[in-house]
């Protein structure tokens, strides 16, 4: 077996070692498989370990590399995929008991692209059932049970990409693929200390991924460094005739620019800072870590300016959009007796309630979405990226009821999970742009709802670790960029990681 030092390497480092034939794909795969067997159950990270396929792919990779046919930086690299991606002949459970025996006869486009790049599928990873489409009340809302944060296993790994959240920082895989509709990559990345990228909507084909919301679902890499996210994205991005919403604009992963001597890496770069009211809703330790991260960015030469989002009811719009689409997608299931087989009661209730969203609300949300796209694009004329805390609180304990009333910041508590972001706070008077409210003003805290706003507009974002609490729980900072500027947010996060060490911390005991 290979040493932990090797297995905790970044994809970039592993790739260069494989190319130099210092690390052999079969040995690397066997080592990750052994860790999946050993630690997977303890962390609740795994749905299915794909040993047979993995060893077959590893032998093939080794043979090709030995013959001088090196395909690129993912050749021979073992990865895990959230269990909502179709894999030919291997169970795809969507994390839900009613689909425990579901097997597709084809691979999702993303899986095919990674296979073409020479990557090795070692596991299907755990997830919240149906990606939490109906809402969920606790970390156990999954066929696979709760996934645990490797840095403190009494706490949740985050959701709905919970398996990737647990598996990446504990080096059960070299990287993983997650999905996000409304916070499901950013949240587990924040809670588990992962560098997780939510690409621009349409950047990655959704073909073969469980559809929760046709217009909001995104697939993206969850890695140990921001730079690795760029490498993986380069392999999975691109137009796919099987997904008409996939974009034709090519994604080019640019290596970090060399900084001229005497110049700071982010000199003169303009960053918009979304600072929530931590006193009202956040955690003081998260606030402290966020402030230190901002200082790091200043130290790199960036110009920081506090700002707020345009005035819209982002959360209501996002929830209306995805829940209406989920209700349409799952209607036959919701109306069947199989609904009762779901683990979480909130999930059942939420899915049924979603059947009755009025069409006018759905369409109005889509009309406001037009305005939000325009207004957020204008904002990026002033800033290259926006930064915000990925979540306002660290990971909740594994046994917390998410529906229970939140404690105040002073009492310190858990955050509400990925399905419905609670990153809200009080704010300044509204700077109205368009679609002014006529009767009920928007909840002022919505001016900081960056997860909802950026998902509605389909913008890319990356969350990277920026600190740890006294309980050894990771804290994340997110960088949000304009549509199709995925490389911009990766670049900022990469520079941040060059100036910080948080992403290098390893969980003890794994």
């Amino acid at each position: 077996m290979l040493s932990d030092d090797i297995l905790y390497m970044s994809v970039r480092e592993l790739g260069s070692q494989i190319q130099a034939r210092k690390i052999r794909p079969v040995q690397l795969t066997e080592s990750y498989l052994a860790r999946l067997e050993k630690f997977g159950p303890k962390l609740g990270a795994v749905a299915t370990i794909t040993s047979k396929l993995a060893l077959q792919q590893a032998k093939q990779a080794e043979k090709e590399i030995d013959a001088g046919n090196y395909r690129g930086p993912l050749h021979g690299i073992p990865f895990g995929a959230k269990d909502l991606l179709a894999t030919k002949g291997i169970k795809t459970t969507w994390g839900a008991p009613p689909f425990r025996d579901q097997v597709f006869e084809y691979d999702a486009t993303l899986i095919r692209k990674l296979t073409d790049a020479g990557a090795i599928l070692v596991a299907k990873l755990a997830m919240i059932e149906l990606a939490g489409g109906g809402g969920y009340s606790n970390a156990s809302a999954s066929l696979q049970g709760p996934s645990r944060c490797p840095f403190n296993i009494d706490h949740w790994a985050g959701g709905s990409s919970s398996g990737p959240g647990a598996a990446v920082p504990s080096a059960l895989v070299a990287f993983a693929i997650g999905s996000e509709t409304l916070g499901s990559i950013i949240t587990p990345s924040a809670f588990s200390g992962v560098s997780g990228l939510r690409p621009t909507y349409g950047r990655v084909s959704r073909h073969g991924a469980m559809a929760l919301s046709w217009t909001m679902d995104k697939l993206g890499p969850m890695c140990r460094t921001a730079s690795d996210c760029g490498l993986v994205l380069a392999a999975i991005a691109g137009f796919d005739p099987l997904d008409e919403t996939s974009v034709r604009t090519p994604y080019i992963s640019r290596p970090a620019r060399r900084v001229a001597p005497g110049r700071a890496a982010l000199e003169g770069k303009r960053i918009g800072v979304i600072r929530p009211d931590f006193k009202a809703e956040g955690d003081p330790e998260v606030e402290m870590a966020f402030n230190v991260a901002l200082e790091t960015l200043r130290g790199l030469g960036a110009k920081l300016e506090e700002m707020e989002l345009p005035d819209y009811p982002y959360t209501a719009i996002a929830v209306t959009l995805y829940s209406s689409e989920a209700a349409s997608i799952f209607r036959p299931f919701i109306q069947s007796e199989k609904l009762q087989q779901l683990v979480d009661e909130s999930q059942k209730i939420g899915l049924v309630a979603a059947l009755s969203v009025p069409a006018t609300d759905y369409l109005d949300s889509f009309r406001l979405r037009s305005q939000i796209q325009t207004d957020l694009a204008k904002m990026f004329e002033r800033f290259e990226v926006l930064v915000a805390p990925s979540r306002l609180r660290p990971a909740p304990r594994i046994d917390v009821d998410f529906n229970a009333p939140q404690k105040s910041a002073v009492e310190k508590s858990s955050d509400k999970p990925g399905g419905k972001p609670s990153d809200k706070s009080a704010d300044k008077p509204a700077d109205k742009t368009t679609a002014k409210p006529t009767t009920t003003p928007t909840d002022t805290s919505e001016r900081h709802s960056i997860i909802a706003a950026s998902n509605i507009a389909g913008l890319p974002a990356i969350s990277v670790p920026c600190g740890f609490t006294k309980e050894n729980l990771p804290v994340g900072i997110q960088f949000v960029a304009p549509a199709l500027a995925d490389d911009t947010c990766i670049g900022f996060a990469h520079n941040f990681q060059n100036a910080s060490e948080w992403h290098k911390r390893r969980p003890s005991g794994f």
Binding site: A316, S336, S356, L368, T438, T440, E446
Partner: protein, 103 residues
């Protein structure tokens, strides 16, 4: 589905076919009986019209809907410009290219 003439439409409207107070047969069936559907189609089991929920779940669904009504008030309170179209665009699809028929 077959259409009806404007005259037929007005006759039915005047007769209260759209009143909705009493259940009436669908308009198309009132005037122009449809051809019976093929057996394979009619034989397909329909999903149950009543959801298979317990009384407690039914209550919670109603509570969830009420909660959503509150959440969505901010959205509904906005007056949207008349010409604001949704962010999605319906696109026509060109027919697949067929090779010219010979002969």
């Amino acid at each position: 589905m077959k259409g009806i003439t404007r005259r037929e439409f007005h006759r039915l409207a005047a007769a209260g076919a759209f009143a909705g107070a009493a259940p009436t047969a669908p308009l198309a069936q009132t005037s122009l009986p449809l051809t019976p559907a093929p057996q394979t189609q009619t034989a397909t089991p329909k999903p149950p019209t009543k959801l298979l929920l317990t009384a407690d779940q039914e209550k919670k669904v109603q509570e969830a809907i009420a909660e959503r009504e509150k959440d969505i008030a901010a959205l509904r309170s906005r007056t949207l410009p008349y010409d604001l179209e949704p962010a999605f665009v319906f696109r026509v699809r060109a027919a697949a290219h067929r090779p010219p028929v010979k002969g």
